[in-house]
Structures are given as C-alpha cells and as structure tokens.
Symmetry: C2
Subunit: 570 residues, 2 copies
C-alpha cells in the first residue's frame, strides 16, 4: 500500500478528553476517529489491526471445535422479557420501537437469541455438546464512555455459547474455551492474567474467569500470588484468616477508654498509639432491609460482594446514620459489637484477634482489650473483606498477594440452566428423559483488545505493534521520492516483499525525512526500512520498532531478515 | 466438517409466509433462521456462503484501488439533519434516543458519516481521488419485509464512496466501480444485467446504473434490447416516438360519436371496433398543485417519473375525481384534449397519430378522427410513457425491447456535490482555490446476493450453489457409518481433500441413505461423493449437483477431478 493514498492522517493535536495513551496514539496515528461519544470509525490502519485480531480469534475458535454463526443486532424485546432481563438491564440496554411500535433492543449480548435458536434446532443428546460463536457489533449505552475503544457504546465482540447435557460436559466446554482464550491472547501479544471473577449481571450458577490485560489504566484490581498461579479480581479474591498481630494491649482485660470526638481508625491510632490491625471496625449494614453489624479489622475493607454472598442477601448497603444510631444507641463513630441486639457477622481475621479496640456504643468512649467470642457473641464468621496487598496467598499460603490494574478483555462463565430454563431449551437424554441444556457463555472484547495492546505497547514516540496484529509488517521509507536511485530500490524491495506475502506500507509522500520518521514511529509498524543515500550501493537502514537499533544492511540481508521474521516456519 | 455436529437441521416444514423459492430452500436446508420479520440469523452453512461473497467483494474492491474502513451503525441525527435527509427519509429510518435523550439513526447508508470523515481528513487535491468502502450491517424498516434475505430490515451491504476533484475524475471512479461490480457478480456466478436507473431517494446530479439479477420474483422490470447492449429499469427506459399505426378511421375528419357509459379503453375498443393504439387516453394530473392534461396512446402507460422530469415538478399525482370533473366539465371517463383550458402535455407517440379517438369532455360522447396539433393544441411533447415490450430499441433502433424481472443487487450513483455541499467537504485545488468534492456512491446488497443466486440456481430438489460461493466444495456421503470399509475410505478421502484446501462436509450421521441424499440435494454442494459397497474395490460414486450424472470412478480419479475443479490454476 502506498502511503500517499492511505486514508489516515497523523494528527498534531488531539482532543483533550483523550486521557489514555492508547486512545491518544490511536487518534494521533490515524487508526480511529470518533463519530459520537463512545462510537468510533475505524480508518484503514485501525481496521487492518481489527481484522487480524478477528482472524486469530476465528482460527482458535474453529480449532477448539466451535462453529461460527451470525445473529442479528436487533432483538425483539419479547425474548428479553421471557428471560427476565428486559426489566433489570437498565439504561445500558438501547431500546427502540419499529414502525409498528414493536419493541426491540440492540444486542449487548446474545444469550436470549442463541438459546431460542438452539432450542429450535436441537432436541436430542445425540447432537450435543455444541459450542457456537459469532463476531458481531454490540451496543451498550455506557453512562460514561471513555478511553476510546476501551469503554465504548458500539463495539465489536466475539461471543460464544456452549450447550451441554451435563455439568461435567459444561466443565469440558469451559476448559476448551479457557485454552482457546489463552492461545488467542498469547498470539495477540498481550500481557494478561486469567483471574477468578464474579458473574455479575449475566448471572449463572457456576464458575467464571476474567482475562485481564495488565495496564495501569485498567478499571479493575487484579490480585495475584508472587509464588503460585493464583489470580483473582479483587471483588472475588479470597482472603484467609490473617494471623493475629502481636498486641500491645493486656490480653483479655477489657477496659473502657475515654476517646473524646475520636470517630475514625486514623484518629484512634493517633490517640491510643495503637496500630489499625489492633482495632475492630463495626459497620451497620442493611441486608435486604434488616440491620446487621459487620466487623472487620481496622486495616481491612469490607467487600460487599462477599458480604452479600455470606448473608445470602439480594442487596446489601451501609445503613444510614439514623439506623446506626438506633441500632447502637450511640453517635456514628462509636459503634461496637458489645451489647448489640442485632446479628453480628465478623470477618475471619476478627475471629483471630486476641485483644482489640472497639467502639463502646457510647459517645466518646471505646473499649480496649476486647476478646471476640468472649466479650461479645459472633453469629457468623466468614471471609467478607477485600484481600490486602502483601498478605499470604489463600491458595498456596507460601507466596504473598500483589495488586495490579487490569483491563477485562475476555470473560468466561458457567451459566448453567439460567437461560435454558427461562426460555425452555430442553433435550431428550439417552434414557428418553426431558432435561434442560447446561450452558456456558464466553466473550472477548475484540475492539477493546486493540486499546489494551496499545496501552501495553507504546513509548513516548508512538505505538509498538506486535507482528501478529500490526497493520503492516514493514514500513518502507525512501528518504526522497525525487531521487531516482532511492525510488528504484524502494520499488524493487516493495515488489520483492509483497510477492512473499509481506505487507508493506511504502511512504511515497513528498515530505521531509523527519516528518516521515515521526509518523513511522507513531504508527508503530514492527520493521522500518529507510532507503537513503546508500541506495547507490544497494544498502538500506533496517530498524525494528521495538528495539530501535538502526543497522545498515544490504538489500538482500534486509529481505532475508524480514522473511525470517514474518514467515519463521518457511 | 462433520455433519453430525453441524448446527443446521434440514426442515420438513417451512413457514407458510415463505413465498420465494430461495427463501423456502434457505430455511429448509438450514442456511438461515428468522428472528423477527425481516431479521435473520445465519446458521453456519449460510454464514459460510456469506463470507465467501464478502471475500470476493473485498478482493475486487481492493484490486480496484478502494480502501476498506469500518463506520458505526449508530449515527447522530444531527448529521442527517445537516444533509437534510432526517426529515425526508420517512419511517424506513430506524430512530432511537440514547440515555441522554440524544437522537440517533441506525444507518441505512453512510453518506453523511463518510463525507464528514473525509472532510476532516483530506483538504488538498494532492490526496484525491480516493474511494472508500466498508462491509457493514444496514437497517431499513421496510413496511413489508419479504422473501427472506431479499427484502429484510437488517441486512449486510458493501457501500463505497468516491471523492474526486472533477466530474471527469468522478467518471473514472464510477467506471472503476462498474468494472469491479461486473467482476464481483461474474465471480459469484450471477446472471445479471447492468441497467440505467433512476437515482431515487439518494439523489444526486449524475448517472446511475443498477445491477439486476434476473429472476421472476424480482420486483423491478428490466427492459433490454434483443440486438444491442441497451438495458434499463422500466422506470427509466426511454421510448421513442412509435410509428403511427395504420388507422381505420377516416384521416382528419373529426366526428362526434355516441358512446353511452363507455369510460375505458377496453369498452371503447369493443364498442367502436377500433384498436387501443388508435385512441388517446387523457389523464388529468396534479403537478405541484397545478392541473395538467396528460395524453398517451390507448395502449401505453404513463410513466410518472418521466412525467415529473418533463414537467420539472417535485411531485405529480393523478387528480382526484372532483378536479377532473372541474377541468373537463364531464364525468370521469370522457376527458379529451379538445377545448381544455389547462396545459396539455402529450407523449411523443401521440404527436405521431393521424386520426385518433378521444373523449369529448361530455358525458357519453367521444370524438373520432381527431388530429393532434390540428384539432387541439399541445403545449409540450415529451417521452412520458413506459416503454412497451416488443417496441423498437431507443438506442440502436434495430432490435426490439424485451422485458425481464430483476432483483437489484448493486447500484452505482454519480452523486456530485449533494453531500459535499450540504456537509461542507471542500478541498484546495492545484490553483489554491476552494472547491467542493465530487462524490459517487456504490452499493452491493451482500446478503441479498445469497437470495438472488438461490433464486436463479435451484431445482425441485434444492439449491445448486456455484463453486465460488458454495458452503463446501464436496459433500462426502458414506452410505453406512457402521461399515468399516466405507468409513475408512471416507475418512481417507476426507483427509486427502482437506489437506489440499478443499472444503468437505462429511455426512457422518447415522441416517438412511435416502435421507442423506435428499439433504445433500437440498443443501446443494457442487460435488457429491457417495462411498458405498464399491468401497471394497476403492470406487466411489461421483456426482456434480448441477448436472446430476452419477459416475462410478476410482478414489484417485475422484480426487483428481475435484482438485482440478476447485484449483484449476494449480
């Protein structure tokens, strides 16, 4: 491809709302353009990368035995009402009416459609299991679209759905997807971690993993072990009953302490000269409209998702001040577990504490030397806090936990029967009995991968694409298009390379070398070949974008290096 | 691919609203499934055909120098208001509001988006011309979706847009697209005709051609010459001043004839024993709210599109009865041109008539022997009728016109400055002057091609796909999957073929041969190889779906035939 006719301008200025480096560079280098908030056009450079990612996904999905199909964007609202999601999905679901006033949704996902489709096509165990996938545009009306392709309103996803006759079958289908995802992200050159995750809005009965691309800009915290392969989303990361810290308090001797106007752990720490891990935070929560006292250690944070699971509640939320005052008989900031009449739920770490500081349920007073289980009763002990950086790994107990930020690029779920029951997808098993299919669902944010890789692979001059998904393999830059010797050599190289299925962008623009090289580094094609004065002796300058060392080599040597790089198996 | 795991059931029964053969067979053979009226899912078989059509389009578009990009489905309504189309597009445009109450349209076409994009990327003649294309899902809320993929509400289109500095440049871009379209439809195995067409709602100042797939079910009438290459949509087909028929009336002797209750040409023909071509039909039209008398010969039909152009009117429509009575002073059915006070517009053929029968503007009376131009004045003579089958070709005047039915599969337009002016897409020319870009737009109904080909290529047993876009090249059918010799040979053939990039569907289902063969003919894969009892001697039955002759051949012979067929250039 000749750059003079390429529809992509490198920009000098970018919109101020482009915060992420990936977003800035993809705009600057001419990969994408915004049409509306969270809605982008792909210019030829961006589309080439997108298509390569799609191709990798397709190859690995096919290899895993999944079959590709293609479902519509417009989904009848009735299907969503049948599954029960129409009411609960909220404003992220884009809704519309057709000319006959029938309601439709623009698909953010396709569980309803695929379940209905499979229900009509398959009715016997003989034709199961089956895994189906599509690469399709999805719609989600994000409240706050941002970071370019990272959180858009119209985006490309690969979504797959498995249908099995048993939970064991689902587990096999799930593992096949896990493996395919690993190969896909590896081939895309992504640094990522597969973490345990919470199923969230999609629901379902089984396990779930998120594939998180590691990046500072990521909106999720990933917890991983320094020793073993344990990794989880912070929402889901298990925490173990941390060893009780050595306490400076006299063990088991409860004493009342005057703590005027001291309401926070920080203030208490200063006043009493004790560590936060010697204190118990008592928080009053409403669990489905019933108050409950929730205890975590002073240096820990409540994880509301775990809390919800521990209580078996639909909803949990911090109680308002009025309820807290009613439950404790004291102003906010002086709550403690001693003498409460509501149930007390304590984190595992609280159960291990020997002598703790707690609120006294009385203004301006705390207790010190409190022994959980002795000085107050605990109804239930459970893991209800966020794991903390540096603590022991809950899996191997040898390593410690480290925190990273991540971008979700893939997500796999064991759905179970949620949709097959709601929509009536049944099969006849080998004994002739009617059963519901056991489903899994598996997503990859195709367009989001572009941003995740750009986020991981850039420097202060521009993007650094891996060869597997780069828009072109080679950027061929003649210094002067008016120099016949240079252009002859450049054209010769262009022919030789393209004939070997190597994708070359030839910078045939009448621009200064500085402009061309700046643009080249911005775009980030893996190999650059500059054809300059040494063209007369058949030599060129060869540079790999990632490493940056310039080397003067003969034309033939450049050729053979490139061929080896692009086609290592030939 | 093994058929036992393929997500496609052949159906015994199909919905009664599937009228077209293509629709019936694509449902029956498991290519598509309806989700809602005019909205379809593609099962794996259908998607494979769709992807092959896409690939052919992409290759030919790239070869023509067009660049692929990808624009969003959701388009801000403001853009459509800027171009003026938001108000005029009507209920076919699917509209929605986002969570912030901003209006969007689901793109039925992308003129507004691409013009805005190019306007921001290109500002100099140095970077023109450029032709851009995408393959994208489009939305059109058809009042009456029908015929499966032929007239859907969500469908796949290839749309391309050219930007030039001059009309001559546009003409070159247009020709390049014309040629690419010819190659695309040829490669898809379509029988089609490129016809002159009317620009319709897209508007624009230049020429336009439709590519019509010939099929009885088509909703358009294509007029073509038996002698030369002239072809046009009936809406647009020119008609020449037909030679006046020999008249049985006494020339030029006007006489009043009593024609009680005789209001139609048919009734007049019976009563007066004259031919329809000896009569003049007088129709009162409203042209932008002004009445006009429109004359065509009794055997001809008014073409309202031509009428509109001839009158230079925005809208033309038949006047209501009241207006007709007022203008003629007679009941409907007795209008004639003599003595009218409104302008008279006559078709070319009327101007040639020697002695005609017309209404007398008086109940129950006509005139005979009327000479146009002598007995009444004609304000304007023009081509305002539909061409008629069998008449002389307006281009070569040697051949005669034949009529066919056609399905529009492609459409190319010279748009000119319509959108570049409305949306401000300007460039600086080589003299430094500011000019508007000259645009063309070019569409192909990608999903519609599937239906058009299925419509052209089927017999009473099922579909007959051309090799270039068939879902598989070879259907390999072992008679009994329980017979080891048969299965060993079938598996061997499967391996040998797939290793040579030949796509094979292996029917490994435990079904009777009759069921397998019926399904095979329904699906319509070009080559079928049945492995039966002769497997013991290494022989198989080879059949090409199109011709149907069964031949017993050796395994090697079958192999080499197939390889020659699929890879003729190897």
């Amino acid at each position: 491809m000749r750059q003079s006719s390429l529809l992509s301008s490198t920009l000098r200025e970018i919109p101020s709302d482009a915060e992420a480096a990936s977003h800035q560079y993809m705009l600057k280098a001419g990969f994408i353009r915004q049409l509306a908030a969270g809605i982008y056009s792909y210019l030829p450079l961006g589309l080439r990368v997108l298509r390569k990612v799609e191709k990798i996904i397709r190859e690995e999905m096919d290899k895993s035995g999944a079959q590709e199909l293609f479902m519509p964007v417009m989904q009848p609202a009735e299907l969503w009402k049948e599954s029960g999601r129409y009411a609960v999905y909220g404003p992220e679901l884009i809704r519309l009416k057709d000319r006959h006033d029938r309601e439709f949704a623009l698909g953010p996902t396709h569980e309803e459609v695929i379940t209905t489709l499979v229900k009509n096509e398959i009715n016997s165990y003989r034709r199961l299991p089956v895994t189906l996938y599509q690469i399709q545009t999805k719609f989600r009306d994000e409240r706050r679209p941002r970071f370019g392709l990272l959180r858009g309103r119209e985006f490309l996803m690969k979504d797959a759905y498995s249908f099995d006759t048993s939970w064991e079958g689902l587990h096999q289908s799930y593992l096949a997807m896990f493996d395919a995802y690993t190969r896909i992200f590896d081939r895309c050159g992504l640094r990522y971690s597969a973490v345990e995750a919470d199923p969230g809005a999609i629901g379902g009965e089984g396990g779930t993993h998120e594939f998180m691309a590691l990046a500072q800009i990521g909106e999720d915290t990933i917890v991983s072990c320094t020793h073993c392969r344990y990794a989880a989303n912070l929402e889901k990361a298990r925490s173990i009953a941390a060893q009780a810290p050595r306490s400076s308090a006299r063990n088991g001797m409860k004493e009342k302490v005057h703590t005027p106007d001291t309401r926070t752990i920080e203030q208490l720490t200063k006043l009493l000269k004790r560590e936060p891990q010697e204190m118990i935070k008592t928080l009053i929560y409403m669990a489905d409209d019933k108050p409950v006292a929730v205890l975590v250690r002073g240096d820990h944070e409540v994880n509301e998702l775990k809390l919800k699971h521990a209580l078996g509640a639909e909803n949990v939320a911090l109680a308002d001040a009025k309820t807290t005052v009613e439950a404790t008989g004291a102003p906010v900031g002086f709550a403690g577990p001693i003498g409460l009449e509501i149930p007390v739920l304590a984190d595992l770490a609280v159960g291990e504490m020997q002598a703790a500081v707690t609120g006294a349920n009385e203004a301006d007073y705390h207790f010190a030397g409190v022994v959980p289980g002795k000085d107050f009763a605990i109804e239930q002990t459970a893991d209800i806090r966020n794991a903390a950086e540096g603590e022991a790994c809950p899996h191997c107990e040898e390593g410690t936990l480290r925190f990273d930020r991540g971008i979700e690029v893939g997500h796999i779920f064991k759905l179970g029967k949620k949709y097959s029951e709601a929509l009536g997808a049944r099969f006849t098993d080998h004994e002739g009995k009617d059963q519901h299919m056991i489903m899994g669902c598996y997503g990859i944010g195709v367009s989001r991968i572009l941003s995740a890789i750009a986020e991981q692979r850039h420097d202060d001059r521009g993007l650094v694409w891996p060869l597997s998904i780069a828009p072109f393999h080679v950027h061929l830059v003649p210094v002067s298009i008016k120099d016949e010797t240079q252009m002859r050599l450049a054209e010769e190289l262009y022919d030789l390379l393209t004939r070997q299925d190597i994708e070359v962008l030839l910078d045939d623009r009448d621009e200064r070398l500085g402009v061309k090289l700046n643009d080249s580094e911005l775009i980030g094609i893996p190999v650059r070949v500059v054809v300059g004065k040494l063209a007369a002796s058949g030599e060129v300058e060869y540079t790999e974008r990632e490493h940056g060392d310039k080397q003067v080599v003969s034309k033939d040597s450049a050729l053979s290096r490139i061929v080896r790089l692009v086609h290592p198996d030939n």
